[in-house]
Symmetry: C2
Subunit: 376 residues, 2 copies
């Protein structure tokens, strides 16, 4: 079996899990750093591992545009290409394609669009999206889905869901049997995606639809597209409990530590978000005492590490004052050290959540909550 998931412990809806792939084991709840083009911005594969990452996320849409699936396949697959030897999940790129607006056209068979790079025409279908991810040799592939914008009319959301469900069935059927090696030319597992915008009835129905299709895991998509926090949380609360208990659940594109902690309490196992890396590049740094806006003048001569309890390369050797200096000066090393720090923070945070579920003390563990309100 190419992908195995075991629930080792629970506390309420929260689960401590172990996801076994041919490229290694992922302890869940887990955060997947985002390497859209095959690398987390500013981070080498070695540093990604050193930060504590066990799985990396990449993106089929972006890799298909450049360098192209042929190139990566020829080079031995996505692991050989990126130098990241651990598990890799690729998003299908549905979200990116549907963000193209006028550049794309949807029909029942799939979506036709133009590259945002050079305008060349491309077509994604439920079948070729599975096939391309198999050729990349990813550990976890995602089906092609339609991600409705927010806000959207209920009728539009429902029609969109019916198409996404039809696509999910075709993707499931397209999956090559025996293609589960998880190496080049093989694939570990295929996840379905629940959509339905912020409509409870539609989300619940979609969750049951996807649960029925016997995917290797189920994702909640269509969140973090601009909706208010309460709506986003409600979607997670409605959807997660309806997904199969024995399979991993993945909340796509979420989020803040607070949002992640909430979703873990709802039984979600996997997360990805550009937030820690993007915030790092803008000097917004996570610490156990709250968020630091490191460009703030009060850090100019602050000799303390960003976070006393952090073991990242920035905290091990340098100070808030040094990061303040580098980030304000626009120095590349500022972005690099800040990114390494924020990733480490997120990955440490996930480890703390796992330990709390193990000990049955999850509520007590949220020492960062409410992090969003305590920035400085």
């Amino acid at each position: 079996m190419a992908l195995r998931f075991e629930v080792l412990a629970t506390q309420g809806e929260s689960r401590l899990g172990r996801l076994t792939t041919t490229h290694g084991v992922v302890e869940t709840p887990a955060f997947m750093p985002v390497g859209t083009l095959g690398a987390v911005k500013g981070v080498s594969p070695q540093e990604l591992g050193a930060a504590g990452a066990s799985v990396m996320l990449s993106n089929l849409y972006h890799l298909a545009l450049r360098p192209g699936i042929d190139v990566i396949e020829k080079l031995g697959g996505i692991h050989a290409f990126t130098g990241w030897s651990g598990p890799i999940l690729t998003d299908s790129g549905g979200f990116q394609v549907f963000s193209l607006g006028a550049l794309r056209k949807v029909d029942e068979g799939g979506v036709t669009f133009r590259s945002h790079l050079d305008g060349s025409p491309l077509r994604f279908t439920p079948e070729n999206v599975v096939e391309m991810q198999e050729r990349l040799g990813v550990d976890i592939a995602m089906v092609l889905d339609e991600c409705p914008p927010w806000p959207v009319e209920p009728g539009t959301a429902e029609a969109s869901w019916l198409r996404t469900l039809a696509w999910a069935r075709r993707a499931r059927a397209a999956r090559r049997e025996g293609a589960g090696a998880g190496g080049a030319g093989g694939m570990g597992g295929l996840f379905g995606i629940v959509q339905g915008s912020i409509f409870r009835g539609l989300r619940e129905r979609a969750a049951l639809d996807i649960a029925e299709l016997d995917f290797d895991g189920c994702a909640i998509g269509g969140v973090s597209v601009g909706e208010p926090k309460d709506e986003r949380r409600a979607v997670v609360e409605w959807t997660a409990p309806l997904l199969p208990a024995g399979k991993p659940r993945y909340l796509m594109g979420v989020g803040t530590p607070e949002d992640i902690a909430h979703a873990v309490r709802c039984g979600v196992d996997l997360f990805d978000c550009v937030l820690p890396a993007r915030n790092a590049r803008h000097g917004v740094l996570y610490t156990r005492e709250g968020v630091l806006k490191i460009k703030n003048a009060r850090f100019r001569d602050d000799p303390r590490p960003l976070d006393e309890a952090c073991g990242c390369p920035a905290c091990a050797r340098t100070s808030r004052a040094f990061l303040h200096h580098l980030v304000r000066a626009g120095e590349l090393t500022g972005a690099v050290l800040a990114t390494l720090h924020n990733l480490r923070f997120y990955l440490d945070f996930m480890a703390e959540l796992r330990q709390s579920i193990r000990l049955g003390t999850l509520a007590d563990a949220l020492t960062f909550d409410p992090l969003e309100q305590r920035s400085s």
Copy 2:
């Protein structure tokens, strides 16, 4: 003694040396990666050490503008501030100040200029430049010098040298006795700088002038300012042999591996250059088989590491194809991996030069020569 230099072996004019500072030992000939603002662009202190660097170069002018000497002194000095615990040499910033053109005014007492950042007025004198470097706690400080442009009239170059010599005497006198701790508030050693543009008589006289002043080491400045390669090499050939044999010799701002190898044959011990890092960011990568312009289409599906013999993070895990992909896409990780590679190449190259002097096989060692002609 705050700075000790021993010549361990020679081959012709080439010297294998050991420079001992309070922050560690530098085996020479050595290359000093350039961390203008306290960090090599894109590189953490940990990665700098892992690449094999034993000494880092920084810049008084830039650090005085931001974050300011007061801030660094308050934070415990330049080593505590940057997180680089090995030896640090700071250039005085004469080169930068004289590049400001209309923004600066020279008089006998020093140079008055406006910050290139915010236009605020500043004044560097031979005395305060020594004092500021003492306050930073650098291991090697450089005197304030005037760096004439190229080309320049002989008479102008001579007048400039007379002023620089007077400044060198004042800098020597200004050095606090007992300030040699090489920690915050102390300084390891002070180097004089030979100028004289491309005029042989003036360079020779300047070398003897500086040799007389009993600095802890002597630098050859005023090269790599636009002059042809042959002129640059001639300056090194005239000057280096006239500098004290028992003290380290530093060729400022040079250069290509070929230029460095030439200068080592003339008896130079220390080098710095932005070239490996700047070239890396533009996708120009050094290898033992010549220079690779990694954006070139022929690397699109090249599975080989940049250099089979290299142990840098890029070569250990990834391919030319991956670097091609990242650099073309403008991904931050492309700049980071390329920089780590080029630095490692330069530092390995210096180690090879040292080993060759040790074995008396220097001429045979220049396997990269003529590197400049073999780019692809």
